[in-house]
């Protein structure tokens, strides 16, 4: 299953907000990962899309601003 889906032209993570392993895998393979400021880190994987400054939270998941 792909980790990403297109919604209205935006690239949205298909795992929602609780797919921690998938978010870590995606970030480990991403050239653009950059850790967000400390107050916005949400999981204990050092490298995770959930902790990336280029994720934009949506109601159900997040949009990747680099894909």
């Amino acid at each position: 299953m792909t980790a990403w889906m297109k919604i209205n032209g935006k690239t949205v993570f298909s795992g929602g907000k609780s797919a921690f392993d998938a978010a870590a895998r995606e970030a480990e393979n991403c050239l653009f990962f950059s850790e967000d400021c400390e107050d916005e880190l949400v999981c204990d994987d050092a490298v995770s899309c959930y902790n990336c400054r280029y994720r934009r939270w949506t109601a159900d998941s997040f949009e990747c601003m680099k894909r």
């Binding site: 907000k17 609780s18 107050d39 109601a59």
Partner: protein, 245 residues
């Protein structure tokens, strides 16, 4: 005089965050002898695709003491215009911290901003009742940051719950604490369990993971959890939490 100072929408994807900008601004104000600031509280606002936030739509509010309101306000305005990130929509709100003021209409606005999409007009309308008391200003872009700035200041004035910026690090070679010791060293006024119930017993705790403090019930609060029979400050982040904002 005492104030609440809140800014919002000052960043872009490659800049420092709004919380860091606020702390830098307050540091500069202190150097210039314009103000002394207290801790910063982060308020989560509504996440919705119609709201043009950068990544998480939160606003940051701190308390300030100043003797020269006009000079301090002018300084904040100039600072935001100089240091806000390109493409951002900065807003500034400065609200008196005065127990004689009735903040209820502003607090209602702040709570709305946590649950619905609001406009600048909504913000200006909410501020109308505080004409002459409140400072609300736009500093570039669309100026839409005034919505979050007003909401953050209002929520802080209402003692609404938010996360305190920064984290506490365990001390080397000191894992064991009592709550009274912890309160004394870290300035914690209140302890609560994860459901928000106040803890009054002087529990022995183990502090080995970074933790974040809350501003809750108007007090600096540490959340204490019981993991496998061991009490500890709630670890800063938990991988298995269901909601992660």
């Amino acid at each position: 005089m005492k104030l609440f100072v809140c800014i919002d929408d000052t960043d872009n994807y490659d800049s420092i965050g709004t919380g860091e900008l606020l702390e830098n601004m307050m540091g500069e104000a202190a150097i210039k002898d314009l103000a002394k600031s207290g801790f910063t509280v982060r308020y989560q606002l509504y996440i919705h695709e119609d709201i043009p936030y950068t990544s998480h739509n939160s606003s940051m509010c701190c308390t300030v003491e100043t003797t020269d309101l006009d000079a301090f306000t002018g300084f904040c305005e100039s600072y935001l215009e100089e240091y806000s990130a390109e493409g951002s929509d900065p807003g500034l709100c400065i609200l008196p911290d005065d127990e004689n003021l009735d903040y209820s209409s502003l607090i209602a606005f702040g709570k709305r901003a946590q649950n619905e999409v609001l406009t600048k007009q909504d913000a200006y309308k909410a501020a109308e009742n505080f004409s002459g008391e409140i400072h609300l200003s736009e500093h570039g872009g669309t100026g839409g940051g005034i919505i979050g700035a007003l909401a953050g200041a209002a929520l802080r004035a209402g003692k609404e719950e938010g996360r305190i910026k920064g984290k506490l690090q365990p001390l080397p070679n000191k894992p064991e604490w009592t709550l009274s010791e912890f309160a004394s060293v870290y300035g914690v006024a209140r302890f609560a369990d994860e459901e928000g119930n106040k803890i009054t017993e002087n529990l022995s705790i183990r502090f080995v993971h970074p933790t974040k403090l809350l501003y809750s019930k108007g007090q600096v609060t540490a959340v204490i959890v019981n993991e496998n029979g061991c009490y500890m400050p709630k670890p800063k982040i938990k991988k298995n939490k269901e909601k992660n904002q």
